[in-house]
Symmetry: C2
Subunit: 160 residues, 2 copies
């Protein structure tokens, strides 16, 4: 990746590895169910029992997870009413939840490639053009980037 020397040199942490970002995101949503619940919501599954049946998650844990997702702000409840029935709750992604989509797609691509031999059970397509949708590393100006071209920089100045 960033360097190709064979012997690693003495080092200090680039940045406090417990702070923010990856570790923080994992603290919030890195348990064994949250991302799968988010995936269900993205697929359009919104009802408690449907999610439970799809995932095979226990009811108590799903209750807990949904509450937490709402608390964190990645999902929200929304009342709905079937004709002749009482009002119930459904769940939807918020903008903050939708922003987790690149994470889900990236996981899916990795799984497709290395667990399903290149072709997964689900594809993502552009609604109008029908083209396959993928996740890519690009510069802000839109140029494709290879992992080997990436340099990590801490805001304090150091880099790798």
């Amino acid at each position: 990746m960033s360097q190709s020397t064979s012997v690693p040199t003495a080092r200090r942490a680039l940045v406090d590895p417990k702070s923010c970002s990856i570790s923080g995101a994992l603290d919030a949503l890195g348990d064994s169910w949250s991302i799968l619940v988010l995936r269900e919501l993205f697929y359009g599954v919104r009802r408690f029992n449907d999610i439970q049946n799809d995932l095979g998650i226990s009811r108590s844990v799903l209750t807990d997870r949904l509450a937490r997702l709402v608390e964190i702000g990645v999902a929200r409840t929304e009342p709905y009413q079937e004709p002749g029935d009482r009002v119930r709750n459904q769940y939807r992604l918020t903008r903050k939840g939708v922003r987790m989509l690149p994470v889900m797609v990236a996981l899916m691509e990795w799984g497709d490639e290395y667990l399903c031999g290149g072709e997964g059970p689900v594809t993502l397509e552009h609604r109008e053009t029908g083209e396959t949708v993928r996740v890519e590393l690009r510069t802000v100006s839109g140029a494709p980037v290879e992992p080997s071209q990436i340099v990590t920089k801490a805001r304090n100045g150091r880099s790798r």
Copy 2:
């Protein structure tokens, strides 16, 4: 996302939600430490004690996690030797591990945006141009895609 009706209809799972892809990737690397270890390796940290100190992970768990990462094939060991010292092991990402980079970057961006108020402690830059590197949803032909434009399709034919 995919639909905007207020009352969800009866449903069947789009695809077996336990199979492959997201769930499979999470089974392999979704525990509380693996991705953080991968991040360290990407940052260029390769030695046992360095990783341990950075992450604050316990030694026994790190031993276990590194072994598993090697077993899965996302990391590999590589002997190295400091002058006047005996041969030791270091760890590096394999191609399969590097392919997890979009997941890490996506998590980092989400964390930066929602946990650090928009600006995280680390930035990724293109080595030559210095431009910031991001992860994006695009079609195979390179057109940017909004989440709302994505349709999910199962290979069996159904879609959402």
